[in-house]
Subunit: 327 residues, 2 copies
């Protein structure tokens, strides 16, 4: 590697690092690749918004995972306050949410690429033939329970084949995905997996869940990101340490503290019902009560009021995708 | 084929036919094969009961299919009035019911061998790698919606491989099946499929759901059944033409009319809840309300009283299996 190229990469890493720590930068990923010019227009500008605009995507994960998740998320979509979501193609309730997607072509639905199956009484496996993706399966033939195990065992070419198959299957069900993200963050676990996500997303001309904050934490990113890749500014998601009592306060403070730029709040919706309680019986984090609390807050008048009072405008991945891949 | 052998087969078919029409015979299948003597002990006798004993298996199908099915059936087992059931290995709630099976080794749990996936919003596919059982899958990669379509498309060797894999998978989950039957009767759809079920069941030393009434309707059976195969006398299952109002009456009359011998009542349990209603939204037969009605009747004091008043004794497939395959 030439000295000139090394210096460019180092500089790019430094810029990201400082930006992340300061929490101040917004707009398009300030990432350079050797010989590629760093774009200097912010994401807000490229989206046609002024520099002080606070844009928010309210994103529900895990569609297709369970009936309770589908029902609660569709209800939240109808409130207009939750405006984006992503679908788990390998899960058994896929056909129900695919029917919703076909009936609501305007809905901002992406794919929640799935390589894990975390609920012990209720599980799922790959879209591809099991013998083609053996490295993705635990001893019982389902996806691994945890993202760490999945990431450590996965063979790259099997991951790529499986996630391409999930996208193809979604399209065959009439889903036109607007973006990609990944269940339990599995494809963000290491450089190899993230490169696969990036390559597949570019091929599919779809934006991915990527924040500048997260980018600042991964020193390998400058070598694989290019100026065409779009990162939003911040991703907010509630922490398991927040108590049920502190739920609304956490979100209220997060929304009040929103900075100009593009933020995604990642939430998990379901009813605290029998199906969900059974599925998550040994999994209180992201469990039934957790999801009902998210549903309650994000369909509330209080949330609507907060958006208005803080001059926050909802946008979707559809708009980001159109900007990233015009035409 | 020699004239002697042809005559033996013809005679056997006639015996079955007459027995079925008269509804009078009970006990072991009166089937002969060339050169094999017809056993003359009735099933009741072989089980150690007098000739006037009325024995009943109250059997809940579809365990593992949905949370609602698992929860309702486990509740019914606890009542002591429903005393047998069978598990669908390919379904997503298998791990929950497998855990129940491990915790209740005394429970009479068989396998409900599955080659169909009939609920449109919520579906499942094979245990084996999809490319090994392509003939079992519809265009969307799930099992076919109907038993007729599954039976007409299935390649025999793929069926056999898949059902053997389902049994093996059940055992790997700690389930020790006491019997075999098949979801939506798929393996009873034609001679080829039934022969597979029979061969696998004999290999596994497990009894199968087989009634003398049904045997009388299939003229190919004498050529494939042998004296070692056990048939119970009658299988009762409610018809979609029975109205909700007539539900209890149908079962009450069935129980009052029970004849000496071994009968199985095949029922389908679940709660009429959100999960079940969504799953069966376009499938009212065997749907959510249907299953709740079954649950209500078969856990009722009225059913308990009927059993007592009509001197009916509950038995299980475990006892039949022990008799059929001693040791």
């Amino acid at each position: 590697m030439s000295r000139q190229i090394s210096r460019t990469i180092l500089l790019a890493a430094l810029v990201i690092c400082l930006a992340g720590m300061a929490g101040l930068t917004h707009g398009h990923a300030q990432i350079s690749q050797p010989g590629v010019q760093v774009p200097n227009k912010t994401l807000l500008d490229r989206l046609g918004y002024p520099a002080d605009a606070k844009l928010l995507i309210v994103h529900a994960d895990d569609l297709g995972m369970a009936r309770s998740v589908n029902a609660a998320t569709i209800k939240a979509f109808e409130s207009g306050l939750v405006n984006s979501g992503s679908i788990m193609v390998p899960c058994p309730w896929l056909p129900e949410i695919a029917a919703y997607a076909r009936q609501h072509p305007e809905a901002d639905l992406g794919l929640h690429l799935t390589l894990t199956s975390e609920w012990t009484p209720y599980r799922w496996g790959p879209v591809l033939s099991k013998d083609r993706v053996a490295s993705l399966l635990d001893n019982s033939g389902y996806f691994y329970l945890s993202e760490a195990e999945a990431a450590s065992k996965a063979i790259a070419k099997e991951v790529e084949a499986e996630i391409r198959a999930q996208i193809e299957r979604a399209r065959s069900f009439g889903i036109q995905p607007t973006h990609l993200d990944t269940h339990m963050g599995t494809l963000y676990q290491n450089k190899t997996l993230f490169e696969i996500l990036l390559r597949v997303a570019r091929d599919q001309k779809l934006p991915i869940r990527l924040s500048k904050e997260w980018m600042a934490s991964r020193d390998y990113l400058p070598s694989i990101l290019s100026p065409g890749d779009v990162a939003i500014d911040k991703i907010i998601t509630i922490d398991p340490n927040v108590t049920a009592k502190g739920w609304a306060k956490f979100y209220t403070n997060s929304i009040k503290g929103l900075q100009p730029g593009v933020t995604e709040i990642v939430i998990h919706l379901a009813y605290d019902d029998e199906e969900m309680r059974a599925a998550t019986a040994d999994h209180p984090n992201w469990g039934a009560a957790w999801r009902q609390r998210d549903l309650q807050f994000f369909t509330s008048g209080a949330f609507r009021k907060l958006l208005k009072e803080n001059n926050i405008k909802l946008i979707t991945w559809r708009e980001i995708g159109k900007m990233q891949y015009p035409g």
